[in-house]
């Protein structure tokens, strides 16, 4: 029976939260406008309670949607398309952000949390900033409203029934039809990083609203300076979370996807990168404003730009305008018009208000000295702005086509053929400058500098970085000028910021150390990226033993290697052996062979047909019933290196009915580098094995013959009394042939069975899938002492894999943690500053 009540309840909550956000916006607007103190207070309290109720219903929507997923109510489209019965509870949370409606809901939820914190912590600015908050909430709630006015659909509700979305004859026969299971969560998202990466990123995204709300409130109330102090800690918090969220995503991509890295300049990644980099610039200009009143206008522009870019990014990734340009693009829910209005309203309001107030905003006319902190920070912000501009210019290519089409001009512009090259060749120069500025800028922390003092300060860091980078340059053989410069600049930034940090620690001014710690983190990340991406080496490249040159065109070089099962192959300094398919069983350690189990009618249940011993312990026995994760297949690949201990990697492939073959790498983490291995291709698991026509062989014991090019022979024939699945009578006879197949470093045993039952001859063939061999024991010819065997062959099991070495990738991950530490220190310091004055 269809549970209509819960969906209706959810839908009512959505409508209520939408209406309440409008009401809250109106009340807070009145409170901001009205002069009378008493009335102001009343309207503020009114707005506050309306926002409380709004938040209450938002939580209600989240709870209802969770209950629909948790209780497997597959009559609802959202549960059907994002969940399934076997989904563990912690991944049910991930269902929220697999669908677009759910991710809007997450965003609305975070805005509620942030709004409530602001109401609690900042009473002075409450009314004007909450107007902006409530209006944003109304726009976001409208995205999941799911109502129609005169054929205009507003929003896409997460509470629509399956039968209202999908056209299927079954609903005509039985409108109350409920599928027994959902299509499940995308297996790539069934990963712990995917439980925490989206909420972190969305919280960062949501928090960009706070500095924006402050700047708009400041312009509105003509308080041009006071908004900065409360906005700074939030801007830093938002930047930190966006960085953390992006890097979690990068780490997930590195571990789970198989494009051979952690960042691919995909539009969805760029859509976070650009607002992030502009927000980094805005933090710096806001901090110099707090020091000496310069850069106010720049700060206003940057804070507004950050938020508008967030809206633009939302439009890009959710309107379907990117089409095929992105692998992650969400499906188009027909919200593009609504998203465009959202973007344009805030763009025009923000620009209009700034323009109106522009001449009132105080500025300083004095020229900034080259030997001041402001100058270097300002230069850094400019570089960041240009870096963001370049990425936006490239990512927006599909938008230019769409705009030109509006004017009747057909345009066939496509994204650059090599996106990574297009972006990185520009960004690397930005990174070099950022490293230099962030190293140098720190020296102006203390006192006024002049030329000679500056050179005195800089001499040692410059010298150290030149020496260290020359040494690395000699060892690693860096040949690109941009790489040499980035290496030197990165080390310079590291040394310069560490010098400052040590000084601060000596003076025991820990609270001021946030900046230098964060910059050390950035420098480490730049170095980690330089090494792991710039010097990654495909080690499965061209194994023929011929010399190859890096200049050879990519049409000629082979980056993959073909491995037949149990046939070792040399790849650079390694000897590789693919040892067969492995499975994953719930609660079973290691990777047991697929040969140990027999499938049952239930996809998730298997029965053991042999004992499994892992690290000397018997984990399961023949006959045990076990739970399998049927989507996952692992491929055991053994690496051997001369004189060094061998290790084994288990890259994974998932066969998913909706998405085809999905591969994930396995990574061997060595101190100086990661060895990254992924499957590129396997024999199609969907097609059934096609056997060749049988070949009959008459052979005696010990005689050798060939099957699929393998030396094969009968070791012995023995009478058996028990045959699985066959009842043997007194007159009946069964015999088993023990056949040995020699493959380079091991011997396979096949045991076909010959039966005479009720005076009829029969047989049970033996199959070795890995070798593509099927042998049937057809007859015994006692006079000649020979046995009749029929052999059939098919494709041997193989994998095609790619292996990449990523040097010093850990420097990137450690740098990330250092950056986060720096951000945390800075947030605490700036928040205390705000509290002291508030």
């Amino acid at each position: 029976m269809i549970n209509l009540f819960i969906g209706n309840l959810g839908h009512v909550f959505v409508i209520l939260s939408f209406v309440l956000s409008l009401a809250a916006a109106f009340s807070y607007y009145r409170a901001t406008k009205i002069e009378d103190v008493l009335a102001k207070k009343e309207w503020t309290i009114n707005g506050r309670f309306l926002f409380y109720f709004h938040s209450f219903f938002v939580v209600g929507i989240v709870v209802v949607l969770f209950l629909i997923i948790y209780n497997n109510l597959f009559e609802y489209h959202y549960a059907y398309s994002h969940a399934s019965k076997v989904l563990p509870v912690h991944y049910m949370i991930s269902c929220f952000w697999e669908g677009q409606e759910g991710s809007f809901l997450l965003w609305i939820f975070w805005n509620c949390v942030l709004g409530l914190i602001l109401i609690k912590t900042n009473k002075t600015w409450e009314a004007p900033i909450m107007v902006i908050f409530a209006v944003v909430q109304a726009f976001l709630a409208s995205m999941i409203l799911g109502i129609s006015f005169f054929d205009i659909k507003i929003g896409s509700s997460p509470f629509v029934l399956l039968r209202d979305v999908i056209v299927d004859p079954i609903f005509e026969i039985n409108p109350d039809f409920v599928p027994s299971d959902g299509t499940g969560l995308n297996p790539l998202l069934q990963n712990y990083w995917m439980v925490i990466h989206p909420p972190t990123l969305f919280l960062g995204y949501a928090t960009t609203l706070i500095p924006f709300a402050y700047v708009i409130a400041g312009l509105w109330k003509k308080e041009y300076k006071n908004w900065i102090k409360p906005a700074v800690p939030w801007a830093i918090f938002s930047t930190a979370l966006m960085a953390l969220g992006q890097l979690m995503g990068a780490y997930w991509a590195y571990e789970t996807l198989s494009f051979g890295g952690y960042w691919s300049w995909d539009p969805v990644e760029n859509a976070v990168y650009v607002p992030w980099i502009i927000q980094v610039a805005s933090i710096h200009t806001m901090i110099i404003f707090k020091k000496n009143n310069t850069a106010l206008k720049t700060s206003i522009i940057l804070v507004i730009t950050t938020f508008i870019l967030i809206l633009y990014a939302t439009f890009l990734t959710r309107s379907g305008i990117l089409g095929n340009a992105s692998v992650h693009s969400f499906t188009d829910l027909g919200l593009s018009g609504q998203l465009l209005i959202y973007l344009l309203v805030f763009t025009f309001v923000a620009i209009g208000l700034s323009a109106k107030r522009w001449n009132d905003i105080p500025t300083t006319e004095k020229e900034v000295s080259t030997y001041s902190r402001e100058f270097w920070i300002f230069m850094g912000a400019t570089v960041l702005g240009l870096m963001g501009f370049q990425v936006m210019a490239g990512t927006s290519i599909p938008v230019y086509n769409a705009i030109l089409e509006q004017f009747g001009i057909s345009s066939n512009m496509a994204p650059p053929a090599d996106q990574a090259l297009f972006y990185s060749k520009f960004q690397i120069w930005g990174a070099i400058l950022i490293a230099i500025f962030s190293g140098t800028g720190q020296f102006f922390f203390w006192r006024n500098m002049d030329k000679s003092k500056l050179w005195n300060e800089l001499a040692i860091p410059v010298l150290i970085s030149l020496v260290v980078s020359t040494v690395i340059f000699m060892i690693a053989g860096i040949n690109k000028i941009a790489y040499i410069l980035l290496l030197t600049a990165g080390i310079y930034s590291l040394v310069a910021n560490s010098t400052i940090l040590i000084r601060l620690l000596k003076k025991k001014s820990f609270k001021l150390a946030g900046g230098s710690v964060a910059h050390i983190g950035i420098a480490m990340m730049l170095l980690g990226i330089l090494f792991s991406a710039g010097y990654s080496k495909v080690i499965s490249l061209n194994t023929s033993g011929l010399l190859f040159s890096k200049d050879m065109s990519d049409e000629m070089n082979q980056e993959n290697v073909l491995l037949f099962v149990n046939e070792p192959k040399t790849m650079n300094e390694y000897e590789l052996t693919y040892k067969g398919k492995r499975i994953e069983l719930a609660g079973v350690p290691g990777f047991p062979s697929r040969k140990l189990i027999r499938k049952t009618l239930d996809d998730h249940t298997v029965v053991a047909i042999a004992d499994y011993i892992h690290e000397g312990e018997r984990v399961f026995e023949r006959g045990d019933t076990l739970t399998i994760l049927p989507e996952n297949t692992y491929f055991e690949v053994e690496y051997k290196k001369n004189g060094e201990e061998a290790f084994t990697l288990y890259p994974r492939a998932q066969v998913n009915p909706n998405m085809g073959l999905i591969v994930s790498p396995d990574i061997r983490r060595l101190p100086g580098k990661d060895l990254y291995t992924h499957i590129s291709s396997i024999p199609d698991p969907e097609t059934t094995t096609e056997w060749s026509d049988p070949v009959t062989n008459l052979v005696s014991i010990g005689e050798q013959f060939f099957v699929n090019d393998f030396v094969t022979g009968i070791k012995k024939i023995q009478k058996i009394d028990v045959v699985d699945g066959v009842e043997l009578g007194i007159e009946d006879v069964a015999a088993e042939a023990l056949i040995e197949v020699q493959v380079k470093n091991r011997t396979y045993e096949l045991k076909p069975i010959f039966i005479i039952k009720d005076k009829m001859m029969g047989n049970i063939p033996a199959v070795e899938e890995e070798l593509g061999i099927k042998i049937s024991f057809l007859n015994i010819l006692p006079q000649e002492g020979k046995f009749e065997l029929a052999t059939e062959t098919s494709q041997r099991d193989y994998i095609i894999m790619k292996a990449i070495e990523m040097p010093f990738i850990n420097v990137l991950w450690i740098g990330t943690l250092v950056l986060m530490m720096g951000f945390t220190m800075a947030i605490i310091r700036r928040y205390k500053e705000f509290k002291r004055t508030a």
């Binding site: 650059p416 049409e555 082979q558 073959l661």
Partner: protein
């Protein structure tokens, strides 16, 4: 001239450079004939061609040939102008190639063969469910 003016001019110059280089590096969506024209005129620029795998009268895909060592693949693709051409891809065959509804190849011509550096596949119901997959009826 003030320092801020010099910086302003440099920033504008870089911004103009970015716009020009974006326009220059942007690829284009073309047909096989146009791509061939580009090759014959000596341009090595990589382009996007959109199309489908070639099918025979019975609707079966023809012309997909992985190399003997399985490390590369060639296939026949029909572009949106119904022109068929041989495409060479120097990587193992993507497992879902034959299931794809639409293929976008990015690369350039050499002689009569289109060398694809990258293939984008649009597969039916890859990220969405258009029809119901009834597994078992309660």
């Amino acid at each position: 001239m003030k320092k801020s003016h010099i910086i302003g001019i440099v920033v504008i110059a870089i911004a103009v450079f970015v716009i020009i280089s974006t326009a220059g590096d942007a690829s284009t969506y073309v047909t096989f004939d146009e791509a061939k024209g580009l090759y014959e005129s000596g341009s090595g620029k990589k382009v996007h061609v959109v199309g489908q795998l070639k099918k025979d009268e019975r609707g079966e895909i023809v012309g997909v040939e992985p190399s003997k060592d399985k490390l590369t693949v060639t296939f026949l693709m029909v572009d949106n102008n119904q022109v068929a051409n041989k495409v060479f891809y120097n990587k193992p065959m993507p497992p879902d190639l034959k299931q794809s509804e639409q293929v976008v190849v990015i690369g350039s011509y050499k002689e009569d063969i289109f060398y694809a550096n990258q293939i984008l596949l649009k597969c039916p119901s890859k990220y969405e469910e258009e029809s119901l997959q009834v597994r078992a009826v309660n």
